[in-house]
Symmetry: C2
Subunit: 217 residues, 2 copies
DNA sequence: GTCTATACCGGGATAGAC
DNA sequence: GTCTATCCCGGTATAGAC
């Protein structure tokens, strides 16, 4: 029946994306070959081009699937509020850093975004969506505590996502330098430091810049 | 005279590394061609192979020069202590994020390190050297303040370097999301949050938390 | 939609003259 | 050490049968 044919097609489609994830991650975009992707997926080169018009389109399709999954994960983890989310965030960071391919694909995506303006806009939009979710969690936690932070919610969101990215990369290269719970401990300490009222300018014109209740973004 | 010949050779050598930086950054390691590197440097392909035995060796040589410069910069900026270093760190982060090629080369280096164990060991060693300098600065600042931190100096160093890396990448893709002084403000707040003594489990003397959940470190 | 076969091109690396 | 010319392989993409 046509249903099984459609299912077979969809299966090949997913297999190709899985194979592309493996090969792009292991070889890098430029050095990855369509032939190896086809072989990994168990199909021929011709089949790849029946599903994707070019190597670049295949890469972009893979990245879109990856972004969708990443966003879904982020949303699912942050609904419970900050304190509940901290262990989940630590686990998520470990999963990405210790995965065989996730961190590499992230770097490949970033590099490709810098080289292809169209894809760059897509990746920036994805970052913004994730960032908005993180920012909302920060705002929620700030309101729950009933305090003000010397940094906007949006800025805290940027710092948190950037830190996660950096820690993943360091841990991937030198796992022993990034303890399992370093991310969560840092976020906790950072919130405490932002929450504490700035030290009163004792004698000199200190470089304190804390503005309680600063703007959002 | 032989001196001028040696100087010419050295000039070509440096030109090749500069050209390699440009082309590897713009195309990526896999897609970069030795022919384009030669053309950018104003020499022939044959000359490239007279200086470097392979494309990969050329890449590694470029990365070694880059590591050496990065380490020298890090050392120079951190000798003055934390407070003096904060603006310099912000400037350095902006320079890397807004440079045409530095951030890309960093990502290419990281990816190559994951794919080549020998180079991976080299890059990890470089990270460790930079990390040691940062950690020393953290220790110095901690001692200057005469306080204790709820995180080891080394961990703070890891967090600081990872955060810098992440912020560079976010700013390169979406400059408006990373203010010029975000890195320095975050470091300052983080130290403040780490410095604050963890709330005693029994009854906090001066701390007023209207919410049952306590912050763990 | 999947296969085999192939057109077509570009890149890494080398040879040998100067 | 630098050049030109070339070898040779492997890659993207397509054609056409089933």
């Amino acid at each position: 029946m046509s249903g099984s044919r459609a299912a077979a097609k969809a299966r090949t489609h997913e297999n190709l994306l899985d194979a592309a994830a493996t090969v792009f991650a292991e070889r890098g975009y430029g050095a990855a070959s369509v032939e190896e992707i086809a072989r990994t997926a168990g199909v021929s080169v011709g089949s790849v081009y029946a599903h994707f018009t070019s190597k670049e389109k295949l890469f972009v399709a893979l990245m879109e699937r990856r972004s969708a999954r990443e966003f879904a994960t982020a949303q699912a983890e942050l609904v419970g509020g900050f304190e509940a989310a901290v262990p989940a965030l630590d686990r998520q960071l470990l999963a990405e850093a210790d995965s065989a391919h996730l961190a590499e694909l992230g770097a490949e995506a970033w590099l490709h975004a810098l080289r292809s303006p169209a894809f760059g806009a897509e990746l920036a939009a994805h970052h913004r969506r994730v960032h908005d979710v993180v920012t909302a969690m920060v705002a929620q936690e700030r309101e729950r505590r009933g305090t003000t932070l010397s940094m906007s919610d949006s800025e805290v969101g940027t710092v948190a996502t950037a830190l996660a990215r950096g820690l993943v990369q360091y841990r991937r290269l030198s796992p022993e330098t990034v303890p399992d719970d370093l991310f969560g401990r840092t976020l906790t300490a950072l919130l405490r430091g932002l929450e504490a009222p700035p030290p009163p300018p004792a004698s000199p014109p200190a470089s304190d810049r804390a503005v309680p209740g600063s703007v959002d973004a």
